[in-house]
């Protein structure tokens, strides 16, 4: 079975630009979560979506937004990019919300110059 897939693998953007990252969950999983992992640090929670609704949000500015589609895939959008947004963005899917393990994708490496 296919695992969690993310696209693109790598991305280079300029300060002030906008970026969209995409995630396809494992078949049958209805929850998708997004994380930011800066080099050398642990992942930081950004959003969790379940059944197309936002169910949790981390401490990130409003420049970060996301949505989940009817097929449970998800997009993470970041506006007005800053140098500090350079990181590995991880997507994880799970069958449900509370108490379910999350399965992680390989991530999208975003570099902001």
């Amino acid at each position: 079975d296919a695992g969690v897939t993310q696209s693109p693998t790598h991305l280079i953007k300029t300060r002030g630009q906008h970026v969209t990252l995409r995630c396809s969950p494992i078949s049958g999983h209805k929850s998708v979560s997004w994380y930011q992992q800066v080099l050398g640090q642990g992942p930081q929670f950004i959003f969790q979506y379940y059944e197309k609704e936002e169910r949790g949000r981390g401490n990130f500015p409003d420049r970060f937004s996301a949505r989940q589609f009817p097929n449970y895939s998800s997009e993470l959008n970041v506006n007005a990019l800053l140098l500090g947004d350079s990181a590995l963005y991880l997507c994880a899917s799970s069958p449900g919300m509370q108490g379910y393990e999350q399965y992680f994708g390989p991530g999208t490496r975003l570099t902001v110059t």
Binding site: Q41, G42, Q44, G56, G58, Q98, Q102, P106
Partner: protein, 108 residues
């Protein structure tokens, strides 16, 4: 508020046993997960601990509880970063929290 703390780095020799701690505080009824990160590979789930019993202790407030993971007879290939994740909380305000990770270094 919820929090997770992990030891930064552990170095041991091959064949040893090692315990990595994860100390957390939670206001809900969380599930604690352990993940391992190998270079250039996705995070892999190692272990899961649910807090079913905590429901019997009124309020679900947990403070400084340790949920360790133990690895026996470690090999060089076990060298990686081990993260614990506090998730599955009841309230929307209970955010999913990763620890900062324990970097395990195994000497040959």
């Amino acid at each position: 508020s919820n929090s997770v703390k992990q030891t930064g780095q552990i170095t041991v020799s091959e064949g040893a046993s090692v315990t990595m701690n994860c100390t957390y505080t939670s206001t809900g009824y969380p599930t604690l997960f352990w993940y391992v990160e190998y270079p250039s590979k996705p995070l892999q789930l190692l272990q899961r601990e649910t807090m079913e019993n905590s429901k019997n202790f009124g309020g679900g407030n947990i403070k400084d509880k340790n949920s360790p993971i133990v690895k026996y007879s470690v090999q060089v290939s076990d060298s990686a970063v081990y993260y614990c994740l506090l998730g599955g909380c009841r309230n929307r305000d209970d955010k999913i929290i990763f620890g900062k990770g324990t970097r395990l270094h195994i000497l040959p």
